[in-house]
Amino acid sequence: MEDNRPSVLSVEHLSKQYKKGVYASQDVTFDVKEGEIFALIGPNGAGKTTTIRMIATLLKPTEGDALVGGCSIKTDPAGVRENLTYLPDEAGAYKNMKGRQYLRFMAEMYAKDRSQVEGFVKEAEKICSLGDRLNDKIETYSRGMTRKLLLARTIMSKPKIAILDEPTSGLDIINALEIRRMIKVLASDGMSFLLSSHNMLEIEYVSDRVGIIARGHLLEVGRPAELLEKYKADNLEDVFELVVMKKDITGW
C-alpha cells in the first residue's frame, strides 16, 4: 500500500568519505514520512551514526544531500536545525545543572520567545515525569532518569523530526519500554522519528519502516512485516543476516 503522507526527511545519495577512500557512509537514500517511525539498523560501525550526524548538520556530506522539512543540509543547515532535534547515543547533560534548569536552557535554544520557553519546559516536565527530582542536580540522576530527561528535551519543542541514536541503550527493561511507548504515542500525534539501533528486536516492535545498513551501505528498506515475509525469517536479526549474505558483503 502506497504511503501518501508527505516526506519530512528525504535522504538522497548521501555519502561521507574520510581520508584515503574510507567511506563511513555511501550512497544512502531513504525518506521518512510525516508521523512515521523510521529506523536504521545495523551493527556497530555500520555507518548509522555518520548518516545521522550528516542529517543533523554535524558532519558535512562528501556527496549527496538530505532535505529536512524542505531545507537542504548543504545549503540551509540553519533551516534544517529549526526542523529537527537530535539525541546522540549515550549523550549526557550538564551535570552541574538542575533538571529543570537544563530543560529551560535547551528550550531557550529552540524557542522564539519567552512564552514558548515556558511552554516547552512544561511539555518536557510532563514527558519526563521526573516530578520534584527536576529540582535536583543532574549529577544525582540515574542513567534512566538522565535518558528520560534528554528524551523530553528532544521532543518538547515538537520538531518535524526527532533523531534518536540508540534511544534505549543502557536502560533497564521498564525504562526502555516506557520510552518506546512514548515514541509511539508521539508519532501517532504526527511527529516523525528517525531511530538508530543495533537492537533489532526493539526496532521490530517500535518502527513503521526499517533500513538495514552495513559497512556504510543501505542494503534494504521496508516494513518489518514485509521484510520478515520477503526473507522468510522469524525476526529482523535473521533478516539482517540474510540481507548481508545476499548482498555478498560479508568478509569486508
Binding site: Y18, R53, A56, T57, L58, L59, K60, A78, R81, E82, L84, T85, Y86, L87, P88, D89, E90, A91, G92, A93, Y94, M106, M109, Y110, L150, R153
Partner: protein
C-alpha cells in the same frame, strides 16, 4: 608474589607514557635552563673583570690604586678603563661611555686618607631588570671592593709604622671608604642602591610571573576540561544540532573563559598590590619616594599595560586549550594534550625569574620571544624599565598569535574536525585491533 604483582601493576599505572614524557621534558628543560644560567654566570664573571673608573683626584696614590685594580693578585687581571666625565648627568654619561656602571674617585680622596678621614667614592649603575641574575655584581662594583682593599693596605702599613692605633684609627681601618650609590633607571637617577631597590621590588618581580603562570595553568585546564567534557558527554553534539550558530557556541565559551580569566587576573593583581605594600613601607618613606621618582611603582598605567598582556596571554592559552580539547579522546588524554602547553609556559617563566631575557644571546632570545607568554612574563620589566619597543613588539606579536589561534579554533569548531579530530589519532590502533578481531 601477590605483593610484587600489585606493586608492578601500581608502577605500570603510575609510570605511564604521560609521566615518562613529562619527566623527559623536565630533564630537557632543566638542561636548557642550566645552560642559559651558566652562560649568564659566565657573562657576569667576564663583566666583573671590566672596570670603568673616573679618577677626579688623580694623585700618585689613586694612580697606584688603579694599578692595583689592574693586577690585584698575581693570577688576576682586570680590564680597567679610565674615563673622564663631561657632565653630572650620569644617565647621559652611561649612554655616552656605553657601560652599565662606573666608579668616581672624587677630588680630595687622597687628602681624606692622609688626614685619617673616611674617603668617599661614588658608584653609578644602571638598573635594567628585576630578574635575579641581572642584579649580580658587575665590574665597577668589584672595583669598590678592590679600592677599599687597596686603601686598607696603604693605611695598614702607615699605621703600622706609627705604632699603636687609637680607637678612631682602628674604626677607620675597618671601613676606610664609604660609597655613595647612584642608581639610574631609564633617564632618572636617585641616590639609592640597586640592592635596596631590588629588595623592595623583588616580591612583586617574583610574584608577577608566578601569577601569569598560575593563570595560564588554571585557564587552560578549565578550558580543555570544558571542551573535552562537552565533546565526550556529547552535549556538544546536542548543542551544535540546535538552531544556533557554531560561532555563538565557541564565542560564548571563549567569552566566559576570558571573563573568568579576567576576574582571576584582577583578584591576583589586587592581592599582589597588597603584598607589595609591606616591603616598600619597611624601607622608609625617603626610599619609597626615591623609588617613585625612578618610576618603579605599580601605578594605574603599569597595571593597565601589564593587564593587557596578561589578558592576551590568557586568551591565547584558552584558545590553544580549546584547540587541544577538540583532540581529546577522554579526560586522561586531555591532560596529556596539555603537556606541550605547560612546557612552553614553564620555560619562559623560569627564564624570566632568573634572567633578563633581552640580554641573552640571539638564538636563545628569539626562541624565547617566539613563545607568546614570554612577553607577559617580561611585562613588569618592559613596562617599568621603559623598554617600550620590546613591550609594543611583544603586544603586537601576542595579538597576531591570538588571531591565528582563534582562527584555528573557529575552523575546528565549524568543521567536521570537532567530531573527527580525536578519532583520527586512535584510528591506526583501532584498525589494528579490528584486524586482530577478524
Amino acid at each position: 608474589m601477590k605483593f610484587a604483582s600489585l606493586l608492578k601493576k601500581e608502577l605500570r599505572e603510575m609510570l605511564n607514557t604521560q609521566t615518562i614524557f613529562m619527566l623527559l621534558l623536565m630533564l630537557f628543560m632543566m638542561y636548557g635552563m642550566g645552560g642559559m644560567l651558566n652562560k649568564s654566570a659566565e657573562k657576569a664573571s667576564e663583566e666583573s673583570s671590566r672596570i670603568t673608573i673616573c679618577d677626579l683626584d688623580d694623585t700618585k696614590f689613586t694612580q697606584s690604586v688603579l694599578m692595583f685594580l689592574e693586577h690585584p693578585t698575581s693570577d688576576m687581571q682586570n680590564e680597567v678603563k679610565t674615563v673622564t666625565l663631561k657632565s653630572d648627568d650620569y644617565a647621559a654619561e652611561l649612554d655616552r661611555l656605553d657601560v652599565n656602571s662606573f666608579v668616581i674617585i672624587p677630588e680630595g680622596f687622597t687628602d681624606d686618607i692622609n688626614n685619617g678621614k673616611q674617603a668617599k667614592v661614588t658608584y653609578v649603575s644602571r638598573m635594567t631588570s628585576m630578574s635575579m641574575l641581572s642584579n649580580v655584581n658587575v665590574g665597577s662594583e668589584t672595583a669598590l671592593q678592590l679600592i677599599t682593599s687597596a686603601v686598607k693596605t696603604a693605611m695598614y702599613s702607615d699605621f703600622k709604622n706609627r705604632g699603636k692605633l687609637t680607637d678612631d684609627e682602628a674604626a677607620l681601618i675597618e671601613a676606610p671608604v664609604t660609597v655613595d650609590e647612584c642608581t639610574i633607571v631609564r633617564d632618572k637617577s636617585e641616590n639609592i642602591s640597586q640592592l635596596i631597590l631590588y629588595s623592595s621590588l623583588y616580591s612583586r618581580s617574583l610574584f608577577m610571573p608566578l601569577v601569569v603562570y598560575i593563570l595560564i595553568l588554571l585557564g587552560s585546564q578549565t578550558m580543555i576540561n570544558a571542551v573535552s567534557a562537552e565533546k565526550l558527554d556529547k552535549t556538544l553534539e546536542t548543542l551544535l544540532s540546535a538552531p544556533i550558530t557554531r560561532l555563538h557556541v565557541i564565542s560564548a565559551k571563549m567569552l566566559a573563559a576570558a571573563a573568568v580569566a579576567l576576574l582571576n587576573a584582577v583578584v591576583y593583581m589586587i592581592g599582589m598590590n597588597n603584598m607589595n605594600l609591606s616591603p616598600t613601607g619597611d624601607i622608609g618613606e625617603e626610599y619609597t619616594k626615591m623609588i617613585e621618582k625612578l618610576g618603579l611603582v605599580f601605578d594605574f598605567r603599569t597595571y593597565l599595560l601589564i593587564g593587557v598582556q596578561m589578558l592576551l596571554t590568557m586568551l591565547i592559552s584558552l584558545s590553544i586549550a580549546m584547540i587541544l580539547g577538540a583532540f581529546a579522546k577522554n579526560i586522561k588524554s586531555s591532560q596529556t594534550l596539555l603537556l606541550p602547553l605547560m612546557f612552553v609556559t614553564i620555560v619562559p617563566f623560569m627564564a624570566c625569574m632568573f634572567l633578563d631575557i633581552s640580554t641573552l644571546p640571539g638564538a636563545v632570545r628569539y626562541v624565547l620571544y617566539a613563545i607568546p607568554f614570554t612577553h607577559t612574563f617580561m611585562a613588569s620589566d618592559t613596562v617599568m624599565f621603559g623598554k617600550t619597543e620590546l613591550y609594543t613588539a611583544g603586544l603586537i606579536y601576542q595579538a597576531v598569535f591570538l588571531i591565528i589561534c582563534m582562527t584555528i579554533a573557529v575552523k575546528i569548531f565549524t568543521s567536521d574536525y570537532i567530531f573527527t579530530a580525536g578519532e583520527f589519532i586512535g584510528r591506526r590502533k583501532k584498525k589494528k585491533h579490528a584486524e586482530e578481531d577478524q
